[in-house]
Amino acid sequence: MRDGFGLDGLNLLPSSAKFQAKRVKWQKGVRVYLWFLGILWLVLVVVTALWWLIVKYGLVNLEKKYQGVLASYKLLAGEAWENEKLKYKTKVVGEMLTGRFEYARTIKKVGELFPNQRIRINDFELANKKKFLVKGEIDDGPNVDELERRILEINRGESELFSRANLLSLDLAGLIWNFQMEVELK
């Protein structure tokens, strides 16, 4: 049963009493609200301040630790710069060697064109960094077959060093066969 109301829901209190009851009810509500607001305020202030203090303290400690580590690192400055210099110079040297064409290595490969000593290379010219114009001589007829066999072998892809060979000319001068061919490196 609500205060001031009968069992049948009728308001039996006089109007001033009704007013007082309403006023008290309102005052109670406002008090509760103000308490709630005060507590919320306090909690907010305490939590924020604590959080701020904890973070600040942690940061100060981390900064101290960092300064300590940095100080020991500064003691190793010489070694650090040596390592940096080495890395930098190695990078530069690496760049210098990237894509560098090595004539000697390539010419040595051309020297391996004919393992048979009776086919001699007298001269060669680089058409480009992959293609050679080779001039040579052969002592006798059977070795001309050897030259042709070698060209076939290269063109069949059986050579590890050369990808293509092309016989440009073959002349007989006395007992010596002079030839001119084009060879491409792999």
């Binding site: 309102w26 103000l34 210099k85 080495l86 690496g94 010419i107």
Partner: protein, 236 residues
């Protein structure tokens, strides 16, 4: 709708005012403090990362064998020209030639831009063209040694003429000079700037196996001219 009475308004005044003050307090004091704390948290994370990074660098430096570091530094420095003078390059090639019975026939150099050396600049090309004459049977060895010694010399162009057993080789060469570089600010140096990659370590191994061309001396210019007090012959 029921009208609000005066006493009710008076009663609600304090909660409304205090709520307003509370909101102003939250917006003006609490919220900025929360933001400040958040930025401090971010800062703390950055400091943590920086500490970790510096500690990693210290560990790496402590792990590096100082003797090996010095050897590698010596080899990689030897791969570069000790002087940016192209005459050095000519002298080096000539020195190699002498070892194979070759002698210098002619040379040409382009000194490039003459001026102050720019510290910390990138690599500088040193170019020279020269002709050497000597035994034909040794030209591959000559070329091989030039290309596989320290300092590293790149043969840009190679031509050979032979007459009997004598060959004349024409070489266009390039080597590189690296101006001195000051150490980077330590705090800006990352672990990546110190640690050698696998291919770089492999390259250093390769350099260690190369022979150095030694015995080449070139007088460094003193920069002092000699003044001869001669009379101008056109004014006589």
């Amino acid at each position: 709708m029921r009208e609000i009475e005066k006493w009710q308004l008076r009663l609600l005044l304090w909660p409304v005012v205090l709520t307003g003050i509370f909101l102003v307090f939250v917006v003006k004091i609490i919220w900025p403090k929360i933001e400040e704390t958040n930025s401090q948290l971010k800062l703390a994370e950055e400091v943590k990362q920086k500490t970790k990074s510096v500690a990693e660098r210290i560990n790496y430096i402590n792990l590096v064998d100082q003797k090996a570091l010095a050897e590698n530094e010596s080899n990689v420095s030897a791969a570069l020209m000790p002087d940016k003078s192209p005459y050095w390059l000519v002298m080096l090639a000539n020195k190699v030639g002498e070892n194979f019975g070759y002698s210098l026939v002619s040379f040409s150099v382009s000194p490039g831009v003459v001026g102050e050396e720019k510290e910390g600049g990138g690599k500088q090309e040193v170019r020279a063209t020269l002709a050497l004459s000597g035994p034909k049977g040794k030209y591959i060895d000559l070329l091989w040694t030039i290309e596989n010694s320290l300092p590293i010399i790149t043969v840009n162009d190679f031509k050979m003429k032979s007459a009997g057993e004598v060959a004349e080789v024409q070489l266009s060469l390039t080597a590189y000079y690296l101006p001195k570089k000051e150490g980077t600010d330590l705090s800006k140096l990352s672990l990546k700037d110190l640690v050698l990659e696998a291919k770089e370590a492999e390259l250093l191994g390769k350099l260690a196996g190369l022979e150095r061309i030694s015995g080449v001396e070139i007088a460094s210019p003193s920069g002092q001219g000699v003044r001869y007090e001669r009379e101008n012959p056109f004014m006589l």
